[in-house]
Symmetry: C2
Subunit: 593 residues, 2 copies
């Protein structure tokens, strides 16, 4: 009996992705079973690479550009190193949809020639390989967005030479900035899932623990960057699709407010749904890499090409103001200089022990740094989740049904969203928009009201909260977007910041039945899963939040590296500090001898 | 036979508005018939005022604030003068919905006391009376928005003390800025009409020609400001509702891009319709008054209170850049310094002779000033109009039907919008949003492409086009929003700029049948109707367009005042100039002796 045609097509495409990897970079032997080999990052992947390739690929985007734009590293060498590592990453965890290393190598050679001639970089991203989620159109490269029915088409429609030659606006800008495009990363079909699964590549696994998911919908980006198969990339986020895979893979990811990074000319689901806009956001191993990307893209004035982009250039003065606050805090001001909201629980999903520990680490870091912490008591997040669900269900599943129907492929179980077939009417959508605006108003009022509590003269500078109730989940276990989707309802700026990893010896589920988790937690399976947190700022606060993320991400990492600290009561400031050999005063800002 | 209850209610409210006018300011005799007395501005209204009242009310907002904020004029005297003049205006043309002079006078006294105590103004609008379209909620003042069914309710719902004490965000800001609120102005019920008509006040007539309409939907604002019953006010605009009445009444009006001036907490039609957002915009007798208002409101940081407001403070650097260009042009640079698109006809509605003449005046002024003129060949405006019509018809008329149904009042014929009862579905709305975005993209690309034609290194600095095919129309004759609504589809910045007045001796319909007008033109009836034009800029260009409007509005006014000019061919620059006693060279920038 022959396979259904969707399966034949999907398998052929899957094989074509593997075939696009040069022979020399293919694995000789299949990987051991995931139970035996959970973590394929670090030393595992390094064994397949040269020392030079490791040196290059384990630098962050900022360091790479520093090398390539001064001619110390050639774009070609950098590109080849990332192509090789990306090829390995895909063979480990199924994270790529499109592989076009040859054209990347050609582009890299052209850039090296440019540098040789002009002795100056082509742009601020000169020679930097950038991976892209499989929604962006690139000349001569297919976009399937995980749909079998999109293979050999343009977004499911017959190929028209005029459209297939068009590139998404972001792609045009990245090329102009000097970036090298070399692969597109995997997504769940429809993009509406917290896991990455489709009928082409199958499932994208978590490189830190291959029993688990890489998250979604920018799951391929998350996995690839975690494996250092890419120094930086762009995903999209309508309910957490940048932040969830960033958190699940232990990297940074930014969900900017709508209108900053151009979406023009990219494929999408529910295109034209105007209530909650999907946004493009960068993902990378370091926060400063995100800053590099956002600043570079804004330098291209996307508002002159994308009608939905806001004319809001990079505001360096905000960076400087924020750095000034950080410096004041560092210099030991006895006043509160920065203040943060802290929400350990959203009233909906109780968090697993690794996440609770991650939040405690953040709390301790903020305390060590002397920042004011405000217990977050926002308008009910249930309201946000209800609004979000209605937006996702607005068309009764018509868009997804159409695109799955193109090939007859089955809809993966993990896809969120209605299949009711019932469309909302114009009046119902208007009422939903009013409800959303009223919620946004309540939240904004609450945010601003914290100015009375912070002692800084300003409302909180940011809000820390979980990214999900759990670290990277195992398949079918991602069930609630509550911790991320409220940000999309509000259109706030939000970052995923890596904190630590689940540890089966530490993160034990308390037996106390009063603290039962809503979701099942298995310490042994979760062991090693990255734990991230979320840093949320008000709308259009990208410069400020990136600057804070660079600062706090490093401070959190330092605390994690230095191990658990004990807090001691300080008789000088009446606060709690990390003790230094039992002496809280040694760290006290108010302590002067 | 008794009247239907809606009629009784509407008439009672109409009488209550008149009753709110102090006895001393009521007209002793009714006005002569409109055929006998068309123009009630200027000398006609002045006869009812003292010399001092005339002096105060004929200053613009900038000059008034200069007096009130230095204590030279008391807020009380200014407020009383405008209350008096507004009372007359209403009795002439039916332009008010709410009259609350007593509380205005109380507020003015408080401000005078504040100034006496602190010797400093309360804010940048200290003591400036501001009129508001009847969508804004003010404590202890009703909002009917022209619906009989809203009388004695809160937006048609039973009165809840919590809601009626709430003020719209703009109202809160205006108070904090020191403005004095004293009246709310008339609108067509639904706000969806180019005339102002409802079952409460009836019809708002044009003060320059009472046979004609004041335009809509901010028709009461337009008429009141034209009569100098208000130095400045705020209307709203979803298809031209600020610009049409501004043009029809010979004043300035700004339609900013969405997100600059706060709409939070104001009543609206089709609330929650998210495809084309209605925006709040200022109206005044001078362009610099609009600047004063926009700058003052942005100084209140509306984004900290209105979740849909963008964090985009007033950009003084843009004003300075623009002024720099104007100065360079004035200093006689031989290069093109500024360039403007000119669209005399949109391919849909042929314009009446007064409008054609208005556009010719603008063209001559631009030529005199040496600015480059680009013939505008945009993507079809028919596409914009089709998108706009679908947005207006989205709910099949459900919202309007509901609100008219509250009282059973009839729907005025002039109201635009479907009554089909057929709601668009979520998928249809999404497709409409995609069509809109694609049109916006085409238009943006076209706009940017003019950089190749301008000679300035930039795209055009603005586009001049008509506001409508006609000057202020007579009742039932306003039939097409094409000239204004394309701006709303694009979300561009646009200003109405007054130019001249229809003149039956000059604006004669050409007999040539090849130039037939789409709409009927009667030179005698239109005589005296104000003629405005539109100056359009790209999205979020408020600072630049206001600065250009101040400059060009004055230059146009100068040309109109100095009478018709003849253009002569110049042998130095091969261009056409206004001749000075027959010598074109005397005005030529390229002419050097």
């Amino acid at each position: 009996m022959s396979l259904p045609s969707w399966q034949t097509l999907g398998q052929a495409k899957c094989q074509a992705i593997l075939n696009a990897i040069p022979e020399k970079w293919r694995l000789e032997h299949p990987l051991p079973p995931d139970e035996e080999l959970r973590d394929v990052t670090g030393d595992y992947i390094r064994q397949f690479l040269t020392q030079r390739e490791i040196e290059i690929t384990e630098k962050d985007a900022v360091d790479i550009v520093a090398q390539t734009s001064t001619g110390r590293w050639s774009a070609l060498e950098v590109t080849e190193a990332f192509c090789h590592r990306a090829a390995l990453a895909h063979q480990f965890v199924n994270c790529l949809h499109e592989v076009f290393f040859e054209s990347a190598i050609e582009a890299a050679k052209e850039q090296d020639a440019y540098f040789a001639t002009h002795n100056t970089p082509k742009g601020p991203l000169h020679g930097l390989p950038i991976s892209l989620k499989d929604q962006f159109h690139i000349k001569d490269v297919e976009t399937t967005m995980g749909y079998v029915g999109w293979i050999n088409t343009f977004e499911g429609k017959p190929i028209d030479p005029n459209t297939t030659k068009k590139e998404s606006e972001l792609v045009r800008e990245l090329r102009a900035l000097g970036a090298i495009l070399y692969c597109k990363t995997s997504v769940p079909a429809t993009l509406m899932a917290g896991e990455t699964v489709n009928n082409i590549i199958g499932y994208t696994w978590n490189p830190k623990n291959r029993l688990l998911s890489s998250g979604g919908s920018s799951g391929g980006e998350g996995a690839l960057i975690a494996l250092r198969g890419s120094p930086a990339g762009f995903g999209t986020d309508i309910g957490g699709s940048v932040r969830i895979p960033a958190g699940f893979n232990g990297i940074y990811g930014l969900r900017p407010s709508a209108g900053r990074i151009p979406y023009q000319g990219a494929a999408n689901s529910l295109d034209g749904q105007g209530c909650i806009l999907s946004v493009v956001g960068p993902m990378a191993a370091t926060a400063r890499s995100l800053t590099l990307l956002v600043k570079a893209v804004l330098g291209m004035q996307p508002w002159t090409r994308d009608p939905l982009a806001l004319e809001l250039p990079w505001r360096e003065e905000v960076v400087e103001q924020t750095r000034g606050l950080i410096e004041r805090a560092r210099s030991g001001s006895s006043d509160s200089v920065l203040a943060f909201g802290l929400m350990k629980y959203d009233g909906i999903d109780r968090v697993h022990p690794p996440i609770a520990r991650g939040m405690r680490i953040v709390e301790q870091t903020l305390q060590r740094l002397g920042h004011k912490i405000i217990e977050w008591k926002p308008p009910s997040h249930r309201t946000a989740v209800e609004i979000f669900a209605k937006v996702f269900d607005m068309d009764g599943g018509a868009d997804a049904k159409h695109h799955f129907g193109l090939s007859g492929e089955p809809r993966p179980e993990q896809i969120i969203g209605s299949q009711s077939g019932i469309q909302m009417t114009a009046s119902e959508i208007a009422a939903l928009n009013v409800a959303k605006r009223e919620y946004q108003k309540q939240y904004l009022d609450y945010w601003q009201s914290t100015a009375e509590l912070t002692g800084t003269g300003r409302p909180v500078d940011g809000l820390f909260c979980p990214l999900a109730a759990h670290a990277a989940v195992f398949p079918y276990e991602y069930k609630s977007v509550a911790y991320t989707a409220f940000v999309n309802v509000l259109d706030y700026t939000s970052l995923a910041i890596p904190v630590t990893f689940a540890d089966q010896n530490v993160d034990v589920d308390p037996a106390d039945s009063s603290d039962r988790r809503h979701l099942d937690y298995y310490a042994e399976i979760y062991d090693g899963a990255p734990v991230g947190v979320q840093l949320v700022g008000r709308r259009l606060q990208e410069e400020k939040m990136l600057t804070l993320a660079e600062y706090l991400g490093d401070e959190i990492a330092r605390d994690v590296k230095e191990g658990p600290r004990e807090l001691g009561f300080c008789v000088y400031c009446y606060g709690y500090h990390v003790t230094v050999e039992g002496d809280a005063r040694a760290k006290c800002r108010a302590y002067k001898t």
